[in-house]
């Protein structure tokens, strides 16, 4: 599925300073029953966001109108648990294009990159600075620069570099995906397959 190209994103951010945010929190299993990729944003953080009677939980950050933006900032070990890509879909569908944390779970990170969300891993110190900046000013902007691989807290100018492999960076900045790449090398795959014992 096509996604928006990612180059430079300047936006305010939504803070979620909780560790080990697992994919069951991002989207509970009972909302995985669709056969199309539509509407998952409505159930993003469903059980943290809504009471049992579907009324919004006022103390949850997504229900607090002072926070908005295309960047979600989470605590350490964001996205642990299930491989459900629905978690990344829900985050994208809600309107986020970038998730920042000091540590990501592997599968979530891969899924995000595959659908056009940029996971930015920063140092624990820098993560704290981001949380502090947002606490001081909910409209505090962050600038995520993919070509330069930097993230900047705009108000203070504090900056940190982040890692991403060259292949994925190229894909994200151009809106390419892996399937295009793999389709183009089917001949090579066929030769490889012919040699397999199983």
């Amino acid at each position: 599925m096509a996604y928006d190209k990612f180059t430079i994103l300047k936006s305010s951010a939504v803070p979620l300073p909780i560790e080990n945010v697992d994919t069951d929190q991002i989207i509970p299993a009972r909302f995985l029953k669709a056969t199309k990729r539509e509407g998952f944003g409505d159930n993003l953080f469903r059980d943290w966001r809504y009471n049992g009677d579907d009324t919004p939980k006022q103390d949850f950050v997504l229900n607090n109108p002072i926070y908005s933006g295309k960047i979600l900032v989470g605590g350490r070990n964001f996205g642990s648990g299930s491989s459900r890509e629905h978690a990344a879909w829900a985050i994208y569908d809600y309107g986020f294009r970038c998730v920042i944390s000091s540590f990501f779970a592997d599968i979530f990170k891969g899924n995000s990159l595959n659908i056009g969300i940029l996971p930015v891993q920063v140092s624990p110190e820098f993560l704290n600075k981001i949380f502090e900046a947002i606490e001081a000013d909910p409209n505090a902007e962050l600038e995520v620069n993919l070509p330069e691989q930097t993230i900047t807290i705009v108000s203070t100018g504090e900056k940190e570099s982040f890692d991403i492999n060259g292949y994925k960076k190229h894909n994200l900045t151009n809106g390419f995906d892996d399937i295009d790449y793999l389709q183009a090398m089917k001949g090579e795959i066929k030769e490889f397959e012919a040699e397999r014992i199983f």
Binding site: M1, P17, I18, E19, N20, D22, D24, Q25, P28, A29, R30, L32, K33, A34, T35, K36, R37, D47, G52, G75, R76, N77, S80, G81, S82, S83, R84, E85, H86, A88, F103, F104, A105, D106, I107, G110, N111, N114, I115, N165, G166, Y167, K168, D177, D178, I179, Y181, L182, Q183, M185, K186, E188, I189, F192, E193, R196, I197, F198
Partner: protein, 467 residues
């Protein structure tokens, strides 16, 4: 050391790299691809949108498990959304010529139970599925891990995914396991030591005499939980136990093919002197029957212990307090004696015959506690048949338990098997996340023995007192 000592993981990984991309992932060939109804429909939709097909349908196997009811499977599925997903799996499989063991099929069951028990899972293979517990198949010396739906589409269309090679970790457990200490306790112990993110970025090899002496069912339980410490997967070198388990299974190689395969499989072990990026050593004697008290699988400890204080655990106090608050627990409380409401035995972690044997060993001659609702869910129809053949069903019935039909069930509560809000469930499954077993449900992860002890006493009980 410049010689070529390599690890089991390297041997299997390197044999599957079709192309190395500079400053990028490996193009990684997949031998076996399992699909189920929840994470595959959007991948098939993607194929249609792009106008591309399935490259090797014979390498993909479909089974329905996540969404299926565990009672009255002969009736139409009541939830229209679930029914729709099951129908989509069936029609996609039919359209592309993929083997499909749907609801009601004699070989249907949880994908990570049916793969091994039918001889589809073999040593040295690469195996993926849109399910993080695909790591289960690593018990056979395969590289097996969970993938997202975009990757499901990649495998369907090209039999490859793009995967950076993980780092290597070895976890050694040596010594003699104590009475009542099961493979589930071994894995919960390891995760409690490494924490829920301790192996992120790594692929784990489990080594040492504890795993060498373990049955295949036990090894599957251990490898299954690898993801719960963040590892992409875990594997155990195949040995005579592995070969004996595979030999004769329906889709296992036969005759000359078997001999050829066996010769290859015997080379699948870590060479002496091979180097790991990280290595841990544990003593089997330190492991007690385990139970979790929090909201991630790393928050577990020996069942006789009191709940730690926030300064004794890794991570922030806010996160820890949130977790205990959700569970309705307090620091320094004992776990033993806590009243529970539900017991769930089943799932891809503990839904195999050995798990029901263990459960029955404690239940035999006792009665289900009145305050407990128990859901006993076999991992597959084959396991269900074994439960009946071995007389385990009679023991369960005698004790007041009922056997349900196979599926993922209350492990992720996608079907009707949901633990009600606020209730406590001792569960043999793999995740105790908030709401995992139903909105507001409180999960205590444990072994089948601990589950059985809770089921007959109605409280958290040390199974060693009942053995």
């Amino acid at each position: 050391m410049s010689n070529q000592a390599s690890t089991l993981f390297d041997k299997v990984w390197d044999a599957h790299v079709v192309r190395k991309i500079e400053d990028g992932p490996d193009v990684f060939f997949i031998d076996r691809h399992f699909i189920h109804e929840v994470t595959s429909p959007v991948a098939f939709l993607g194929l249609e949108t792009r106008g591309i097909g399935v490259m090797y349908p014979e390498r993909t196997f479909a089974t329905a498990d996540h969404n299926t009811p565990t009672i009255n499977q002969h009736l139409p599925v009541a939830d229209p959304l679930s029914a729709n997903q099951l129908k989509a799996l069936e029609s996609n499989a039919a359209k592309y010529g993929i083997s499909h063991w749907g609801l009601g099929h004699a070989r249907n069951g949880i994908v990570h139970v049916v793969g091994p028990e039918n001889g589809i899972t073999l040593p040295g293979m690469t195996i993926v599925c849109g399910d993080s517990h695909t790591s289960t198949h690593g018990a056979f010396g395969a590289i097996a891990f969970g993938i997202g739906t975009s990757e499901v589409e990649m495998v369907l269309s090209s039999q490859c995914i793009m995967q950076p090679k993980p780092k290597k970790m070895r976890v050694n457990v040596n010594g003699q396991l104590g009475k009542g200490v099961t493979p589930k306790d071994v894995t919960l112990y390891i995760i409690s030591k490494l924490t829920t993110a301790g192996a992120t970025g790594y692929f784990v090899e489990y080594a040492g005499d504890v795993f060498e002496n373990m049955s295949m069912e036990g090894r599957m339980t251990v490898c299954n939980m690898s993801i719960e410490m963040g590892a992409r997967g875990g594997m155990i070198a195949p040995d005579e136990t592995t070969f004996a388990y595979i030999n004769g299974r329906e889709q296992a190689p036969k005759g000359e093919k078997w001999d050829k395969a066996l010769a290859y499989w015997k080379t699948l072990k870590t060479d002496e002197g091979a180097v790991f990026d990280k290595e841990y050593n544990f003593d089997a004697a330190d492991i007690e029957p385990m139970i979790t008290y929090g909201t991630n699988p790393g928050m577990g400890q020996g069942i006789t212990r009191a709940i730690p204080t926030s300064d004794q655990v890794e991570g922030g106090k806010a996160t820890y307090d949130k977790s205990l608050n959700y569970m309705g627990f307090h620091e320094n409380e004992n776990m033993l004696g806590k009243q529970i409401d539900y017991v769930f035995i089943g799932s891809c972690t503990n839904g195999r015959i050995e798990d029901f044997r263990a459960f029955a060993s404690i239940v035999k001659g006792r009665k289900k506690a009145d305050n407990v609702t128990a859901w006993i869910v076999p991992g597959s129809h084959i396991v269900e048949a074994q439960i009946k053949e071995e007389g385990i069903l009679d023991i369960l019935t005698e004790a007041g338990f009922e056997l349900r039909q196979p599926g993922c069930s209350a492990c992720l509560a996608m079907n009707d098997d949901k633990i009600p809000a606020g209730k406590y469930a001792v569960s043999t499954s793999n995740r105790n996340f908030e709401g995992r077993q139903g909105p507001g449900a409180r999960t205590l992860l444990a072994s089948p023995l601990v589950a059985a002890a809770a089921a007959v006493t109605g409280v958290v009980t040390d199974p060693r007192t009942l053995l």
